[in-house]
């Protein structure tokens, strides 16, 4: 485990977490003050928990095990908690194996997925503020809320399409592809891909190349 110091867990940006995974970290552990015991008056740890849970949904959606990202709460006087949490986390990560490989995702694909998510970070910040931020509550309540139907719907509405389009565009950067080829690579059905492709065409992000009978970047 390698440690990076921030003054408040609230400073931890989703982009940092994604960067760590794309550089080959198998797990990211965030240690924070106990909820409700903020050293500042900003309660940044609630915000971070919200961000972590959202990121876990994104990781899961991308086919990565969300357990690779963990947030634990402890005070400076609770060395035993830190040790317990870290040991447990390391054990878990060892079981999961190397990032990507453990989930059966190739290095190129992993890179593309994480890049897509990273590009989405500014958008995630906006939509998090508008729609995906839960009110301050207990840790258990956060987990329950993020596992619930309401969040599932919100996540579907706000993030899923963006992630799919992002991945399609990343794929097309390497060259034109057919709908079926795209569908295989991003793990969606051809009809879902068609839907995204038509949206993207409307937004003039992609075009249909008549000659090659394939989609390409606009």
């Amino acid at each position: 485990m390698r440690l990076i110091r921030v003054m408040c867990s609230g400073r931890i940006d989703p982009a940092f977490v994604l960067r760590a995974f794309s550089q080959g970290a198998d797990g990211v552990f965030i240690g924070a003050c106990h909820l409700g015991e903020c050293n500042y008056i900003t309660h940044g740890n609630y915000h971070t928990l919200n961000m972590v849970l959202l990121l876990r949904l994104i990781l899961e959606h991308l086919g990565l095990d969300p357990e690779r990202l963990r947030m634990s709460f402890m005070s400076g006087a609770e060395a035993n908690l830190f040790v317990e949490n870290v040991n447990d986390f390391v054990k878990k990560i060892k079981l999961l194996g190397p990032v990507g490989a453990g989930e059966g995702i190739g290095p190129q694909e992993l890179k593309r997925k994480l890049e897509t998510a990273t590009e989405l970070v500014p958008y995630i910040r906006l939509v998090e503020r508008e729609r995906l931020r839960a009110p301050m509550m207990s840790e258990e309540a956060y987990y329950a809320y993020f596992a619930g139907q309401e969040m599932k719907r919100l996540f579907q509405e706000t993030i899923v399409e963006k992630l799919a389009i992002g991945q399609i565009i990343a794929l097309l950067r390497a060259g034109p592809l057919t709908t079926a080829e795209i569908a295989r690579s991003v793990g969606l059905t051809p009809s879902e891909v068609s839907k995204h492709l038509s949206t993207s065409s409307r937004h003039r992000l992609v075009r249909y190349d008549q000659e090659q009978k394939r989609y390409a970047l606009a």
Binding site: R2, M7, R11, Q23, A25, T42
Partner: protein, 911 residues
């Protein structure tokens, strides 16, 4: 320590585990250095001297002898502390006799991760985890038998609850039983804490006197006999019994008291002046903390701070006489240079070098980009090492320095200073923690630890390349203070600040000073409150440095530490007050009961009204045949989930007074738990002895009150309550019913909190910066609090805390400037889209919009920014950035952490 052949019981760990003759006292000791004690073979028998030979630094000197020094001082502060009660004085506790009977102090060391078994709870007889644990409360306290203390130690109820919670954290399956008398959760947030402990699964709180039975020969388990109303007397077996021992006066207190010529009270604590509990009978000798009496941490901290303020008053004329100004060379501008990094790798004696291969690591550092110098040092923090860093920085033209050693928490300020000495901006310093993060946790994996040390340094080097010079800035401190609230706490605080030469603006909403203390006529200890308050008010009005604003409301409060501007509308008209510090001392209000016929029947009074009638000699009260009091009216319930702390003692106070005036009066106090903590317990006992009846009720079956007629035909209030001891309903006839109405936050609390940007606790009182360690400060710099605005408290506690707040104010006002950190946020206006996300996130109010030719943009006030960086993660365009923790700096660390190694090796090196 490794080589010392002597092992003997470790005193700090209650002699449960072993230590060496050369040792560190405990892992958080200050200073954190080893020393040799009397168990040393050389000191005892002139043998051994092994340590002297193995110490590379020649730090061991057996020629040292004790020496006497004379120090001339202007004041003495007696902070003698407390001693845990030793249950060996009473054989019935079986302590020292049964192996599995321990004190709470022993248990504390079992719970601690630095304790006897490194955080494992093991019992002595078989070194196994105890499954069934019992705590016995009031061991050595609240008892008049020989050897015990008659007073209540005040802390044991809550520390036991803490131990229960921690035990359940360690072993969720453990069964915890607490045998208690009254539960005295009178401290701030303690009621909620009690509920948290009580509601854990497998936890029982049983109200019963107990006796320790026998030790089972085979299992060494211990039996406890107790009684409950439902089941009668029972005997139950436990794996471990914890005696919740009370607090004794400090060790050798009589001898010390004689040496200093200070008087003791009958309990052998310091005899206190009721209006100034921080002074002793000898001028110039002050007292704080446990020597005042059994107290918890917050009271101890604010009394220490308060004594500091009074010593400041005494010695103010000598302030600054012994200080020296530091001078630094001018700062060299290196921002345009290529990074030239120096890395100093610390051995920390053997703390690091015993695990990490330091020479290899130094060689590795030399291979890293931009590193132009790398070397080792035995102790980088030693004065000569720091000097070496300064010298080499100058010689080799370094513009960034990394010390690979320990946690930045302790030594970063020192090394930043070292850079300043070399003419380099202190923010070019970076600390690589290869001790706490590495050698201390990987002592058994030396090779992996060496690789990890190199990784950590590589990360620091990557980060150092991106560091920027930052300016800390001096904020001028306006020497005046604003005190909000002219009650006992505000008056005391204002006088102490003014006595040290600072102007004080005292703002009071009423037309007169004195606050609620004006309605109190005497205390339990017999203090003449009106005379005292009158004297205090007189002193305040006559003090040339105190400006009083009565009939005042605060209309606006702006500014920050050192330079606040507050607008006040008062009898003086509209004033604009400039001040460097603010004290919130707005006191508290009284709950107006809606229950027990209050407001409908004039015989139902609150305690404050009762007190006024007693003082006024109202015959209806003093001549009553029968008087009933009901405790916990309006608190310890769903609406106000806290204990008002003072009401039990108030009831006892009135009962004793009435018994003195009219010994024939029948007085009954209906209570839930009697919370006469500390020495007030003696008055509770006195009341019982004077035949005041105490009857306990449960919140589920509170007393019922209705108008009725007594047997003798007189009109009375009928009070009905179940009696759990007799097991039947009791009907009491009361001529007067007095209600212990709750103390509630002042009506102005929310408004004042908004004006001064300070926060409130769940119960609506002001929230201090840290409940234990910073009980008179707010998290907002330059704003302080004291008195009942913080939480209900007795006059003595209020006075302690008010001097404490004055002490903290003086620490600020005695300086000409305060230093603001350079690590604050800044907005790139070109990127700002004025969405306001950062402004919403910043509860410090440090970010505001302002108009520019390009439209509205966010701007950070660097004085208010605390550098937590939450706003950074809210900004969709990355326009706001926390200096010293920029995206660039942090991402470079992430990349460097993962650059060389692939994940599996990183895993191997991990714990």
């Amino acid at each position: 320590m490794e080589y010392c052949p002597v092992t003997y019981p470790d005193v700090f760990n209650q002699e449960i585990s072993q230590n060496k003759a050369v040792h560190i006292y405990f892992s958080q000791a200050i200073p954190l250095v080893t020393y040799i004690d009397e168990s040393c073979l050389y000191l005892k028998e002139k043998k051994c001297r092994i340590c002297e030979g193995v110490c590379e630094n020649k730090a061991i000197d057996f020629r040292q002898t004790p020496e006497k020094r004379k120090v001339k001082v202007g004041a003495v502060l007696l902070s003698l502390g407390l001693e845990p009660f030793d249950p060996r004085v009473r054989p019935e506790y079986r302590y020292g006799e049964f192996q599995n009977v321990v004190t709470s102090m022993d248990f504390e060391r079992l719970l601690s991760s630095t304790g006897a078994y490194a955080g494992e709870i093991l019992r002595a007889s078989d070194l196994k985890h105890p499954q069934k644990i019992a705590w016995i409360q009031c061991v050595g306290s609240r008892s008049v038998v020989e050897g015990n203390n008659s007073y209540c130690s005040g802390v044991c109820c809550t520390y036991t609850q803490k131990q229960v919670i921690l035990t359940k954290d360690h072993h969720p399956e453990a069964e915890c039983t607490v045998f208690h008398n009254d539960i005295r959760s009178f401290g701030k947030d303690f009621e909620r804490y009690f509920q948290r402990a009580e509601n854990l699964p497998g936890v029982r709180f049983i109200r019963s006197y107990v006796s320790i039975g026998r030790e089972i020969p085979e299992s060494k388990n211990v039996t406890i006999r107790y009684a409950t109303p439902d089941d009668g007397v029972k005997e139950e077996e436990f794996d471990l019994v914890v005696l919740s021992v009370g607090l004794n006066p400090p060790r050798e207190v009589i001898k010390l008291a004689q040496q200093f010529g200070v008087e003791l009270n009958p309990h052998q604590f310091c005899k206190l002046d009721p209006v100034n509990p921080l002074v002793t009978n000898r001028p110039g000798i002050f007292v704080s903390g446990g020597f005042q009496g059994p107290v918890d941490i917050p009271e101890s901290v604010f009394s220490a701070s308060g004594a500091g303020s009074q010593i400041g008053q005494l010695l103010d004329y000598r302030r600054g006489k012994l200080t020296q100004e530091r001078e630094y060379p001018p700062e060299r501008d290196v921002s345009q240079e290529e990074p030239r990094i120096g890395v100093f790798v610390c051995h920390c004696g053997a703390n690091i070098s015993g695990v990490v291969n330091v020479p290899d690591t130094v060689e590795y550092c030399k291979t890293l980009p931009h590193v132009v110098h790398a070397q080792n040092q035995v102790f980088s923090c030693a004065t000569n090492s720091a000097k070496e860093i300064t010298d080499i920085t100058r010689e080799k033209g370094l513009n960034r320095v990394i010390v690979a050693a320990c946690s930045p928490r302790t030594l970063e300020p020192l090394f930043r200073d070292t850079l300043r000495e070399a003419g380099i901006n202190p923010y070019y310093y970076e600390m690589a923690n290869i001790r706490e993060h590495n050698s201390w946790v990987h002592s058994k994996e030396k090779e992996a630890a060496t690789r990890k040390a190199q990784d950590i340094i590589r990360m620091s080097v990557a980060r150092a390349c991106h560091l920027e010079p930052l300016q800390e800035f001096d904020l001028p401190v306006n020497k005046a203070a604003l005190v909000v609230g002219g009650g006992l706490s505000g008056l005391t605080c204002a006088l102490s600040i003014a006595a040290q030469g600072h102007e004080v603006h005292l703002v009071e909403k009423d037309a007169d000073l004195g606050g609620i203390a004006r309605r109190i006529h005497y205390t339990l200890e017999g203090l003449d409150v009106p005379a005292y308050v009158q004297d205090l008010v007189g002193k305040v009005y006559h003090h040339p440095l105190i400006h009083v604003y009565t009939g005042a409301t605060i209309t606006e409060a702006t500014g920050f530490i050192g330079s606040f501007v507050t607008r006040v509308q008062s009898d003086r008209g509209l004033s604009e007050i400039k001040h460097g510090a603010a004290v919130i001392a707005i006191g508290a209000d009284l709950y107006t009961p809606g229950e027990y016929l209050y407001g409908q029947d004039e015989r139902v009074l609150t305690h404050l009204e009762l007190e006024e009638k007693i003082a006024g000699g109202d015959e209806k009260v003093t001549g009553a045949q029968s008087l009933v009091m009901i405790q916990c009216v309006g608190c310890r319930n769903e609406d106000r989930n806290y204990c008002s702390r003072i009401c039990c003692s108030q009831s006892v106070k009135h009962a004793l007074k009435l018994k003195e005036l009219n010994p024939q009066m029948d007085i009954t106090i209906l209570f839930r738990d009697i919370r006469t903590y500390g020495f007030k317990e003696d008055y509770y006992r006195a009341a019982s002895e004077k035949d005041v009846k105490f009857i306990r009720f449960e919140p589920t079956a509170p007393p019922r009150v209705e108008a009725g007629t007594a047997e003798d035909g007189r009109s009375v209030l009928k009070v009905t309550v179940p009696d759990y001891i007799l097991g039947k309903e009791l009907e009491l006839d009361a001529d007067v019913l007095a209600l212990a109405a709750a103390v509630v936050p002042s009506a102005a609390t929310k408004e004042i909190a908004g004006l001064f940007k300070v926060t409130l606790s769940p119960d609506g009182f002001f929230k201090e910066a840290h409940v234990k360690l910073r009980p008179v400060e707010f998290a907002t710099d330059g704003v302080y609090l004291c008195g009942a605005a913080h939480y209900p408290k007795f006059m003595q506690e209020t006075i302690n805390q008010s001097y404490g707040a004055a002490g903290r104010v003086l620490t600020l006002l005695s300086r000409d400037t305060v230093l603001a950190s350079g690590s604050v946020c800044e907005v790139d206006e070109n990127k700002c889209v004025s969405c306001g996300a950062c402004i919403t996130a910043c509860t410090y109010g440090a970010i505001e919009f302002y108009e520019t030719p390009q439209g509205r943009k966010a701007k950070v006030n660097p004085v208010l920014c605390k550098g937590d960086g939450l706003c950074n993660t809210k900004c969709a365009t990355g326009a706001i950035m926390l200096k010293h923790f920029t995206d660039e700096e942090l991402l470079s660390e992430i990349d460097a952490a993962l650059v060389e190694e692939t994940a599996p090796t990183a895993l191997e090196a991990a714990a």
